[in-house]
């Protein structure tokens, strides 16, 4: 695990009272707002440089909406998102573009997040091209280097996504996210669509890349075991709010909040004797 880096003043990402409400509308000609879905209801957290913050919660707890609102992929209803001390909540697409270099995302479904008609080289190289970082043979060289870094081979440059397994596709997604050497990577359930034997490979890869590039992760997942493994600190979300926040071991070993306790108690223990003990208790 990397050091919690707060030296250098402001944390890398500072989210304060972030709110995202979705209106529920009724009516045919005149849309009336009848109610709101409080998907994210005033959450605050920080991610330091090179640090991993795990965000856990069940489906519908608002963790994915929170990610999107942080990245300004959806406009937050209110609240503040500061990146390296600079307010980014409410910035438009154009204003966000230079910042996108610094904050990238890895998605859950490696089958849906890669364009099936583009070659791997194009997929991974596109961010570099669009941001004007590299072009021509230099672009190709950088992409091939990235592919090798994430455990693929430089010969994969001209292949299409369908030629790869789920784990390999997720590696392509990781290479794309890292191509611009971001400071923050938001990982939204990056391993939940993968087979168990592949999950550990991807988690270890993310770990290594963090050490190598000094990345900070906002790691979102419902699997508490994986989140605890990779995170320095954990925030638990329920119904749009963060109910508990602390170091990974604190939250998992001495949870304070009732919901966190309930969540931890429901995780099956892969040990028949322990599991029998627990049933008896």
């Amino acid at each position: 695990m990397s050091e919690v880096g707060k030296e250098g003043g402001a944390p890398l990402l500072e989210v304060t009272d972030l709110v995202k409400h979705f209106p529920i509308k009724r009516g045919i000609l005149i849309d009336r707002e009848v109610d709101q879905v409080r998907a994210v209801d005033g959450i605050s957290f920080e991610v330091g440089r090179g640090e991993t913050l795990g965000l856990v919660g069940e489906s519908g707890s608002g963790k994915s909406t929170a990610c999107r609102a942080v990245l300004q992929l959806i406009k937050p209803t209110s609240g503040s998102v500061r990146f390296e001390g600079r307010e980014i909540a409410g910035l438009g697409r154009r204003q966000m573009r230079p910042l996108r270099r610094q904050m990238q995302m890895i998605f859950q479904d490696p089958y849906a997040s890669l364009n099936p008609r583009k070659r791997v080289g194009q997929i991974v190289g596109d961010p570099l091209k669009r941001q004007g970082v590299a072009s021509g043979s230099e672009l190709r060289r950088q992409v091939q280097e990235l592919l090798e870094r994430v455990g693929l081979s430089s010969e994969h440059y001209n292949r299409f996504p369908h030629e790869f397994s789920g784990g390999q596709r997720q590696r392509i997604g990781i290479a794309r996210a890292l191509s611009l050497k971001p400071k923050l990577v938001i990982c939204d359930e990056p391993v939940s669509a993968l087979d168990v034997s592949i999950q550990a490979q991807i988690v270890n890869l993310l770990d290594d890349l963090q050490d190598e590039f000094g990345l900070a992760y906002l790691f979102v997942a419902h699997d508490i075991g994986i989140v605890r493994h990779i995170s320095d600190r954990i925030a638990v979300m329920n119904e749009g709010k963060i109910v508990e926040q602390g170091t990974a071991d604190q939250v998992c070993e001495t949870p304070k909040d009732e919901y966190t306790k309930k969540l931890l108690a429901a995780v099956p223990i892969p040990d028949p004797r322990e599991s029998r003990e627990r049933t008896k208790a």
Binding site: E58, S59, V150, G151, S165, G166, G167, Q168, R171, D195, V196, S197, I198, Q199, A200, Q201, V203, N204, L205, D207, D208, H222, D223, I224, G225, I226, R228, H229, A248, D249, C252, K262, L263, L264, A265, A266, V267, P268, I269, P270, D271, P272, R273, E274, S275
Partner: protein, 349 residues
């Protein structure tokens, strides 16, 4: 020990495709007794779901070749006609699926769908009686306010409640065997715990025999009595729950156990991992299918070992690995725990 209810012998299922024959299931045998939970564990492509589906005749496509024997209470199912199978499904063997969102017809009320299934098998049941039965079933599986909920549409149910409704439908005709294919994979952990508890209660109270298909060893530890570990269409190891968890014999099982994250233990520096990825069924390696990923491969591995009992004290604990039990005990320990190998740097797969 009572006589087996369901007996599967050397089941082989192959599918002819444009690229060649895919042998999805390659010689699976097991017995299931009343009240027992047998878990079939494996990754995608291991053949666990195809095994389950073949048991109730869901893989009978034109390009499928099914060999071996599936006997339910003495009756052979692989050669049973479609009409016979239809009668048997629901009545004696029922199945619940992974995705409760797509397993119901969205435009019919839940109660009506279940009544329809009951009346298809028991035509003399009146609609009113059928509805009453569904209310009872909903209460039995813990759906609150059952009297009113039977008239709801599937979309009005949450994921967990929909899975309960599906279990209610599976139980409607009081089958002896329940096949649960990843029944909790799509659910949140708190809901998963409830559904697993429900399946356990049904086993104990109704002596229901269950085949649980899953990739999650945590789920297996909670409910299974016996475990079959599948890899590339073959059973690579089978044994009782405790044998599989505390004395695993096959390196693939070690890898699966090693890569689990455990909240009740200090976290390891790195997660033990299995290198590489599962093989394509069209292009299987010669010999042991796990050979290319196995760090303990040696000269005997190009020949595939049979599924045999290799331990002197347990005849029901079988595996497919050439290593001697003593070698296995030594090699499987990684940093004091069962795992496949000490994690190296990245760069596999």
């Amino acid at each position: 020990m009572s006589a087996p209810l369901l007996s599967v012998k050397d089941l082989r299922v192959g599918f002819a495709t444009e690229d060649g024959v895919v042998q999805a299931v390659d010689g699976v045998s097991f017995d299931l007794r009343p009240g027992e939970v047998v878990a079939i564990v494996g990754e995608s492509g291991s053949g666990k779901s195809v095994t389950a589906q073949t048991l109730i005749g869901l893989t009978r496509a034109n390009n499928a070749r099914i060999e071996g024997s599936v006997k339910l209470g003495g009756e052979e199912l692989t050669s049973a006609g479609d009409a016979e199978m239809r009668k048997l499904r629901g009545e004696q063997v029922a199945m619940i699926f992974q995705d409760p969102m797509t397993s119901f017809n969205p435009v019919y009320r839940l109660g009506d769908q279940i009544v329809e299934a009951i009346r298809a098998h028991r035509p003399d049941t009146s609609k009113k009686q059928g509805r009453q039965r569904v209310v009872e079933l909903f209460e039995a599986v813990g759906i609150p306010d059952a009297e009113r909920r039977v008239d709801d549409y599937p979309h009005e149910f949450s994921g967990g409640m929909r899975q309960r409704a599906m279990i209610a439908m599976a139980l409607a005709l009081e089958p002896e065997v329940l096949i649960a294919d990843e029944p909790t994979t799509a659910l949140d952990v708190t809901i998963q715990a409830q559904i697993l508890g429900l399946i356990e209660d049904l086993n104990q109270e109704h002596n229901l025999a269950t085949i649980l298909i899953t990739h999650d060893l945590g789920v297996v530890a909670e409910v299974a009595d016996r475990v079959l570990v599948m890899y590339a269409g073959k059973v690579v190891e089978e044994g009782t729950l405790d044998e599989i968890f505390y004395d695993p014999q096959h390196p693939y099982t070690w890898g699966l156990l090693g890569s689990l994250t455990r909240l009740d233990r200090p976290r390891p520096h790195r997660l033990p991992q299995i290198a590489g990825s599962p093989p394509s069924l069209l292009d299987l390696p010669e010999g042991c299918p796990f050979r290319p990923r196995c760090p303990h491969e040696f000269s005997k591995c190009p020949e595939c070992p049979g599924l045999e009992a290799r331990l002197p004290d347990s005849s029901d604990h079988r595996d497919r690995c050439w290593l001697t039990p003593a070698e296995k005990r030594e090699k499987r320990m990684v940093e004091g725990q069962i795992g496949l190998e000490a994690p190296r740097g990245v760069g596999q797969a």
